[in-house]
Amino acid sequence: MTSLSPETRKKITELTGKYPQKQAALLPVLHLIQNEIGYIPAEAEIWVAELLGLQPVRVKEVITFYTMFLEKPIGRYHLQVCTNLSCTLAGARNILSYLMNKLGIKPGETTADGRFTLTTVECLGACEHAPCMMVNFDYYEHLTPEKIDKILDGLE
């Protein structure tokens, strides 16, 4: 893993010392790698497995089990639209189709310029401000088409 910054490596070493068993650091280590690289490349799976003393398949099964871990690169901005009940009651379906039309992509796809990836997600825990979505780690709430225009215009 030559591509990891010294800073992330340092954080990873600190992390493994926080747990009674270093394998427990697997999820936070994967978060750190994804934060830096944007996804978890195959070579990182092997690297993490060696670091934590795990079989590579144990790392693979964790990456594929949790929806937040990505195996492939995605767009610069990950638009995650909640389609669970409270958001659906507040018009999430319209929000989703507005985004699909505006970006010309379906959920699971990335725009040709690599800026946006659109995903539908389950409840984000912001039901009191429905409909909502996350863009990377930022929450956007009470969405309307006008508000979406503004949000997307504000992103590089």
Binding site: F65, Y66, L85, E122, C123, E128
Partner: protein
């Protein structure tokens, strides 16, 4: 009638409450100091048991009883896991506690750990709450600097470390044994019980697992006593609950109310009633897993027993309000899609059954349903109930059965029958 005091959320409006100095100015850490410096662990346990503090995560198990299951003298370390996974659809209360008052949670963790003899606690927080996780970490650093965490807490021999651990997007990890697996760096596959986590939990060691709101209640029980606490709620169900209301009401949000408040009062007084032009049709009273109530079933006391007797549950206290214009087929579609997505895949009845039901419902939504579909759904859902390792199977089957039974006519009409 319980006195109305918002002891948990009352200070939330205060600016910078998340900073330790502000928390200290408002009586923060006094309860932890009292517990660690002047109380014996067994006195704390007695008080929490007498307070009848029931779990705020969903199952409602009495916290004191849970703590009491941990063997008093163990040759292994013991752990506390705070469940901050908050994945139950409709639920957003723990987010408020952790972001507005992270030190209250830490204070509860200190008292709980001291009581049970724990020296390492983990806060398992859902991956999406990244910013809240950072706020918690900052609060932990502040508390360490003050000598409230780390070694020699409040000058005593008691030591405690707290680690914030982020999940990565899996509803199942809110189930306590799946949470343990996840914390150990594995897939969130629930474990077979028994053994229960109190004896064999995290890293095979005795472990207490409590929801954020449950732990946040503990400092108040220590500061003001069990008797006061039961007066704040019901004798068998002490304290307030933070209810979360969402859906087409005028004021969606969190409402801290005594247990025993009526569902009608919550929706029509506190949450302001329905939005202009909307009429109430149904309510999901305790997170998506709680079976649905119709509009004429809302004169009900919000407590564990009353909702259980009505065939539903208080669950996480998340109230989702549904209006007349909303099609129950749409609701059913969202519900079945969710559980089909979130089944961990370990038990066949849940993995295959819920996906099968979901396929039928999606077909119905595409206009290709038939009246027999409802019978098939009921049959499949009944075949999942009680046949899985963890409660997710039941959590999926119960709301599906509820919708199909209570809104059968509407569903049939939507299929043209």
């Amino acid at each position: 009638m319980a006195k109305k005091e918002k002891y948990l959320t009352g200070l939330f409006g205060l600016e910078n409450l998340h900073e330790i100095e502000v928390y200290l100015q408002n009586g923060g850490y006094e309860a932890a100091k009292k517990a660690v410096k002047s109380m014996k662990p067994e006195e704390i346990l007695k008080e929490v048991k007498a307070a009848n503090l029931r779990g705020r995560g969903g199952a409602g198990f009495p916290a004191g009883v849970k703590w009491g299951f941990v063997p008093p003298t163990a040759d292994k370390p013991k752990y506390l896991c705070v469940n901050a996974d908050e994945g139950e659809p409709g639920t957003f209360k723990d987010k408020y506690i952790m972001s507005h008052n992270p030190h209250l949670l830490l204070e509860g963790i200190i008292i709980t750990s001291y009581c049970v003899g724990i020296h390492q606690a983990f806060i398992y927080i859902r991956g999406e709450y990244e910013m809240i996780a950072r706020r918690l970490e900052k609060a932990i650093d502040e508390a360490k600097t003050k000598g409230f965490l780390g070694k020699n807490i409040f000058g005593s021999q008691f030591a405690l470390e707290v680690v914030v651990h982020r999940g990565a997007g899996a509803y199942i990890c809110g189930e306590e044994t799946a949470l343990l697996e996840s914390l150990e760096g594995k897939r969130g596959h629930p474990r077979l019980k028994p053994p229960f986590p109190a004896s064999v939990g995290l890293f095979q060691c005795p472990t207490v697992i409590n929801n954020v709101e449950t732990i946040a209640n503990v400092p108040f029980i220590i500061a003001r006593g069990a008797e006061w606490f039961t007066q704040m709620g019901l004798p068998q169900d002490g304290g307030t609950r933070i209810f979360g209301v969402s859906g087409p009401v005028k004021k969606p949000g969190i409402y801290e109310l005594p247990l025993g408040t009526s569902l009608r009062e919550l929706i029509f007084n506190h949450a302001g009633g329905m939005l202009e032009g909307k009429e109430l049709k149904a309510v999901i009273p305790g997170g998506m897993s709680a079976p649905i109530l119709t509009a004429d079933e809302i004169d009900i006391s919000l407590d564990f027993e009353s909702l259980k007797n009505a065939g539903s549950m208080l669950g996480s206290g998340a109230v989702i309000v549904i209006d007349k214009e909303t099609s129950m087929l749409d609701v059913l579609q969202v519900v079945t899609k969710f559980y089909a997505h979130e089944s961990c895949g370990q038990c066949t009845p849940c993995r295959v059954g819920v996906s099968w039901i979901n396929k039928i419902v999606q077909r119905m939504a595409a206009g290709q349903g038939s009246p027999e579909d409802l019978e098939t759904i009921s049959r499949l859902a009944s075949a999942i109930m009680g046949k899985t390792l963890c409660p997710l199977g039941d959590a999926a089957a119960m709301p599906i059965l509820g919708i199909v039974e209570k809104f059968k006519d509407e569903l049939l009409a939507q299929m043209g029958h």
